[in-house]
Assembly symmetry: C2
Homo-oligomer: 435 residues x 2
């Protein structure tokens, strides 16, 4: 079933020129497909004065209109679908806690493509038939669960579809089933570490080899912490339900950037304000055009994720470019005293300081007209000595490190381990009280 010992599909190592030929052919197809079958796109193309036949090179993608999440919501539930309802075999939705959710659909062929893209990722980091893959994310409407579930099963690993919650039982299953690979959010992995320790289990003795972590931004320092605690290799996973789900981009064993599968997703990075296309290496908003999606061909979809393209040759042999791990979201980006700050920058600083524990919170307030940023930081037990002078020194040290990274003054408040809220899914670390 796999193409080779090292690659799940041969497309992973096609020469770039061949990949680009495939991209151009598919871009023409998807533009035509959207134009002919989705009234929204016919209108949008016409408003931009562009026609699918105008696409002659890959750069012509920049002539096409953007799509954003509001377009999905305005066309709830099926208004952007490009095939008859009969052809849809699955739908997923965003959580949509307020108002209408985003609904995405799949044909049987879409699912098949998606499974293989996810399998490319898991196979790339070494997951094989012999592995036990414990999938600790939501199943049902969230794409993260079923996406990797099908892929790990396709590879032939033993899939433990344990879902979220009941951390003690998750740890017991890991021990009893001989789990070697896990999939969850990085914050949940940290939580598992803490719970294991509270059960007097050394996380490094669980036997995990591989951690696939996604659905929220995380830092290099957190990676090191997870790798050191569990004795595993931790990989960053990137995807979004509008592009099928997980399996859009994933780190290879180099752990330096995520290969993005350009035979299925055309990649652009644009200026979030102007929408202008940026060059390799320039930070901006990731814009993706799925090239093979039959059910939901979203043209130039604004992901809201900030990254940049790293197009070096990779030692793993894959010819697909890489993107940098997500730096933040256009809508998570904090503007504090006029300066753009991503929470991941703060996490990065904190995780480098040995006294800092596993959790932190960013609190934004106003003092008069001025923004105030306070970072509440848990201190490891062994450093929480109760000696006021020690704590004062640590506080200053963190404040200095943050000012250096961010370029603004930040208040630090030290708290005891276990004070801050824990999250089983995506962590909510920002408390913005300015409005």
């Amino acid at each position: 079933m796999p193409y080779s010992d090292k690659y799940w599909q041969k497309e992973e190592i096609l020469p770039r020129r061949e990949l680009e030929e495939i991209q151009l052919k598919r871009l023409k197809w998807v533009a035509k497909h959207a134009y002919e079958n989705v009234p929204f796109y016919r209108k949008a193309f016409k408003e931009k004065g562009v026609h699918p036949d105008d696409i002659r090179t890959l750069d012509d993608v920049a002539r096409l209109p953007f799509t954003n999440k509001n377009h999905l919501i305005e066309n709830y539930p099926f208004g952007l679908f490009a095939v008859p309802k009969d052809e849809i075999v699955r739908i997923h939705t965003s959580s949509g806690t307020t108002g209408k959710p985003k609904v995405v659909g799949y044909t049987a062929r879409d699912l098949e493509n998606w499974i293989n893209l996810c399998a490319r990722c898991l196979y790339m980091v070494g997951i094989r038939k012999k592995d036990v893959f414990q999938n600790m994310v939501s199943y049902t409407l969230f794409t993260g669960g079923l996406g990797f579930h099908y892929a790990a099963e396709r590879i032939g690993a033993m899939v433990v579809p344990s879902g979220t919650g009941n951390t003690k039982r998750q740890i017991q299953f890991m021990l009893d089933f001989g789990t070697t690979a896990i999939h969850c959010t990085p914050s949940y992995a940290l939580h598992i570490k803490e719970v294991a320790e509270s059960m007097n289990i050394d996380p490094s003795e669980i036997g995990l080899r591989i951690g696939c972590f996604g659905a929220e931004p995380w830092s290099e320092s957190l990676r090191r912490k997870l790798e050191d605690s569990f004795g595993l290799k931790a990989y960053d996973s990137y995807g979004l339900s509008e592009m099928n789900g997980p399996g859009v981009a994933f780190e290879c064993e180099e752990q330096n950037g995520l290969h993005i599968w350009i035979d299925h997703y055309l990649v652009e990075v644009v200026d979030p304000e102007s929408g202008e296309v940026l060059s390799e290496g320039e930070k901006g908003e990731l814009v993706l055009t799925p090239l093979t999606k039959e059910a939901l061909p979203l043209i130039r979809y604004r992901t809201g994720d900030i990254t940049y393209i790293m197009d070096d040759e990779c030692s793993c042999g894959r010819t697909h470019p890489k993107i940098h791990r997500i730096l933040g979201r256009t809508d998570d980006m904090l503007i504090v005293r006029g300066i753009n700050i991503f929470p991941s920058q703060i996490e990065h600083v904190l995780m480098k300081i040995p006294e800092v524990g596993d959790s932190y919170q960013i609190v934004l307030t106003k003092r008069g007209a001025l923004d105030e940023m306070t970072v509440r930081v848990e201190v490891k037990d062994e450093f929480f000595t109760g000696e006021l002078a020690d704590l004062e020194r640590l506080k200053k040290k963190i404040e200095n490190a943050l000012r250096e990274e961010l370029g603004i003054r930040v208040n630090v408040e030290l708290v005891e381990k276990g004070t801050l809220e824990r999250f089983e899914g995506k962590a909510k670390r920002i408390l913005d009280l300015r409005r």
Copy 2:
């Protein structure tokens, strides 16, 4: 993909003789497979003085040892697996709220068989490519979710993997997505009806055509209530994770007994006490031997479910025998003043009385040495007049109907609609306070 307009697989209508030839061949295989690869079975066969080669006819199954759920638990997690761990691609577990759960495993071929058995069931009741199938049961470790999920997807229906909970959103999805078929527990279907009514939505206008209801025993009267409320056809689904999950037996459009797929499951009904094999039509415990399971070949598995075999020709053309809907569980069976009572008998009586609402509870207590049974019954709003004489009359009417069915005196306590607890999964209707 389907064999015909009417049948998912041609095995559904093979002449009985051919089915029996397949059964015998497979029984020999599975006995040998278990004997050769599972030390537990080698020992159990030897203790019974039987060898796989002794199987010459289907009746010889009675010479083999029984398996029960304790054997699974004692061999936690993988002690009864008959293939190397590498070959397992999925595991599921029972909820195991106390102590160790039952763990079941699947090879890729087991999954393929399971998907097709579930697809046979859904296709049998008319679910097709054009349908929208909302799967309102737990995913992850419970087999009910993923089992029918894969099958409905295989048929090509639009699967809405909405899982449990958030009933208002479930109803909104039904309306927005045009859901035509649902899968849930019968008690949850009743709950949906109540919630829809509280939202001023007439359940019959949702547009549901087909309801697949399983995971708990229910009555003919509840079927009528659900069919009348939603304007759908309601079908009984039977399965258990030890036999893959759902897809063991399912009603056809006749709604008179569940076809049980004997090319994959050898069926016996035994006396729960003596273990003696009973004849067609005799009530007893269902005992199943999966004939094709590679990962977990459970020989003569004691399901704990009470039913009987109905082996008449069926107008649907399927040649597989039927079992009566489950009458109760050997361990749910209530012994009250020495009389065997199944909760389903009580439900059956209640649902025939027009004044009775959607919920009830059975409370068992002791008065001195004697068992006392009280049934708490919700009365529909329009009959809860506050006129004491009316309520007293209704109470007597229900008490008489119950005494007639059960043969013992029962106290009835009438309560207002909404008083008793609602259940999103399996209903827990029995409160045994005798010990």
